[in-house]
């Protein structure tokens, strides 16, 4: 196998809150020992609900926050060990698109200013015509370069966010729920655009989302996370889920076809707080298949079939 473009090894991140004068210090593991490889050109999906650590994982991969444990290797370089200057230079090759298109652009900057920023931070000026090319690539008119963010719709702003990520011609882009705050019609436009850009520029995406239906449509391989840990890696988008949580996520997805209504409730209860993780499997309290074993011992991630690891004592 060729060398993966991105490798995450045992990534963990602990967050602490309180500890001031009036509140006791508490800490939680937002990400617990996540490892994966990503091949060049692959679209890897990370799916899970709020508090599963998917956004923290995205930021650990780009080293926007420091890991408590573990390491990230990008194209052979240990990202977690790089100094300031080297890290800044590496950022040309790794970019990010953010969830909220309303706050991801500085309200005082025009679209052109925003697209010049990736060059400004590297102490460069954008090459002539580069801004116009970027606008073309994301389907915005060149006249829009002089607009301010408040003059644009949510979909247009997200296109600016994508153009900014593309500015330095990166190899790898983290997409953190890039369509979660958009209408479904605009979501589909943006997904179409991302697919075109990947094809034209040979990009590698790490696609973070809460929508398993969307992830299965767009991604080659899918990490399913629950309360900070990977519970299953779907080797292909259409692989049958083996973990009960993945099954529940899939059943919660509404198919636009009244003939296929779900009559049973997919799953009971809600995600417990990460501040007091239960002993054993984190999903046990909501799992229809849970036994005493699940409540006592946290199941490790193990390959049930080649390339299909699942962390479950009683897989489907």
């Amino acid at each position: 196998m060729t060398r993966p473009l991105l490798r995450a090894e045992g990534l963990s991140r602990r967050f602490s809150t309180g500890g001031g004068w009036f509140s006791p210090a508490r800490s939680m593991l937002a990400v617990r020992g996540v490892s994966f490889d990503q091949a060049r050109g692959e679209v890897l999906g990370v799916v899970g609900e709020s508090g599963c650590g998917k956004s923290t994982l995205a930021r650990l991969v780009l080293r926007l926050i420091e890991p408590t444990e573990g390491a990230v290797t990008f194209d052979g370089q240990d990202v977690t060990a790089l100094g300031k200057g080297d890290l800044r230079r590496l950022r040309r090759r790794m970019a990010m698109v953010f969830q909220d298109p309303y706050s991801s652009l500085d309200p005082r900057f025009t679209v052109e200013d925003a697209l010049s920023e990736p060059f400004a931070v590297q102490h460069e000026r954008p090459p002539g015509g580069r801004i116009a090319t970027l606008l073309d690539q994301v389907g915005l008119s060149r006249a829009m370069g002089r607009s301010y963010p408040h003059q644009l719709s949510g979909g247009q702003r997200q296109r600016v966010g994508i153009a900014r990520a593309l500015a330095q011609a990166p190899d790898f882009i983290v997409l953190d729920e890039p369509t979660a705050s958009l209408d479904v019609s605009i979501q589909a436009q943006i997904i179409g655009l991302l697919a075109d850009l990947k094809r034209d520029h040979g990009l590698t995406y790490l696609f973070i989302s809460h929508d398993l239906g969307l992830v299965r449509y767009f991604c080659d391989r899918v990490l399913v996370m629950y309360l900070g840990a990977v519970v299953e890696v779907l080797p292909t988008a259409d692989a049958a889920p083996r973990h009960p949580y993945t099954r529940a996520l899939m059943d919660s997805n509404f198919v636009p076809d009244p003939a296929h209504r779900r009559t049973l409730q997919a799953i009971k209860g809600e995600i417990p707080s990460a501040f007091n993780l239960p002993k054993g499997c984190a999903f046990a309290a909501r799992c229809p298949r849970a036994t005493d074993l699940c409540r006592a011992v946290d199941p490790p991630l193990s390959e049930l079939s080649p390339g299909h690891p699942v962390a479950c004592h009683h897989p489907l």
Partner: protein, 284 residues
């Protein structure tokens, strides 16, 4: 950043009748203060004892004081003192407050805690008390008053700037800049400070109104500008002894203070609406 974009909130602020009237008054007072030597009909220290205590007349539009000095002239020069002291002190205060607040908000840690404790402590004293103590230490006069007023308001701008920086730090575009490789200084000067500027400047403008009152109060106690240089506060002070003999001596500077402060506040309010920063000011 074009000039038109910077000016557009000002234009929107004077579009309401209230904002326009207030803006016009402030503009008039500022113009009179700057042009005092040109427009004032007499010299501010020209005494003429035979003409003392004259009510308003053709020669002296607003009458004269106990030394026969022209009150209109002294009001105009009083505006010069009042405005130069309050504007200078607030400008110094805003600048120092932004530096302190931005440093505290951006650096965080022990430095932030130290600044916050000092600011919170001084926040619990009335500005007048802080100013009086400082004038007592530095000594009366224009310079002493400026420093005293500037320090008295420092806590407000430090606190506001720090709150702005903290709120702005969690905006996604800050994280986006970091994801592109931007360092601390780049983010502070390109994104954080420019976005924090508008609310702090408006708060500074509103505080200028309060500073005029504070300057007048210090002047009333004889701690501000020293005679014969007129200030609205010292004029009221000398007028208070003559309240029944020549009431205009105290009423006129009193009115000047009141109308100017109200106008500054109304114009500031119009600016807040035009800039749409009400909620951001309240956060602090």
């Amino acid at each position: 950043m074009s000039l038109a974009r910077t000016l557009s909130p000002l234009i929107r602020a004077v579009r309401s009748p209230m904002g326009a009237a207030a803006g016009l008054w402030v503009l008039l007072i500022v113009a009179l203060a700057i042009l005092a030597p040109v427009v004032a009909p007499y010299a501010y220290d020209a005494q003429s004892l035979p003409d003392s205590f004259q009510p308003p007349s053709a020669a002296h539009w607003l009458g004269t004081d106990e030394f026969g000095r022209d009150l209109l002239t002294r009001l105009i020069y009083g505006a010069r003192t009042s405005l130069s002291v309050s504007v200078t002190s607030i400008a110094l205060s805003v600048f120092a407050g932004m530096v302190l607040g931005a440093a505290a908000g951006y650096v965080g840690g022990a430095f932030d805690r130290a600044v916050t404790i000092v600011v919170d402590l001084s926040w619990s004293f009335p500005e007048i008390l802080i100013a009086l103590i400082l004038v007592a230490i530095i000594g009366p006069g224009v310079t002493g008053t400026m420093v005293a007023i500037g320090v008295a308001y420092l806590a407000q701008f430090t606190r506001l700037t720090r709150a702005q920086i903290l709120a702005l730090r969690s905006e996604t575009y800050i994280e986006a800049a970091r994801s592109l490789g931007a360092g601390g200084g780049f983010i502070l000067f390109r994104h954080l400070l420019p976005n924090a500027l508008a609310p702090v400047l408006v708060a500074g403008m509103l505080a200028t109104g309060d500073a005029i009152i504070l300057e007048a109060t210090l002047g009333f106690f004889g701690l501000g500008a020293q005679p014969p240089l007129p200030s609205w506060g010292s004029m009221m002070s000398s007028g208070s002894a003559l309240l029944f003999k020549a009431p205009w001596i105290i009423i006129l500077p009193g009115l000047a203070v009141a109308i100017t402060v109200v106008a500054i506040n109304l114009f500031g309010d119009a600016l807040i609406r035009a800039l749409d920063i009400k909620t951001r000011l309240r956060e602090a």
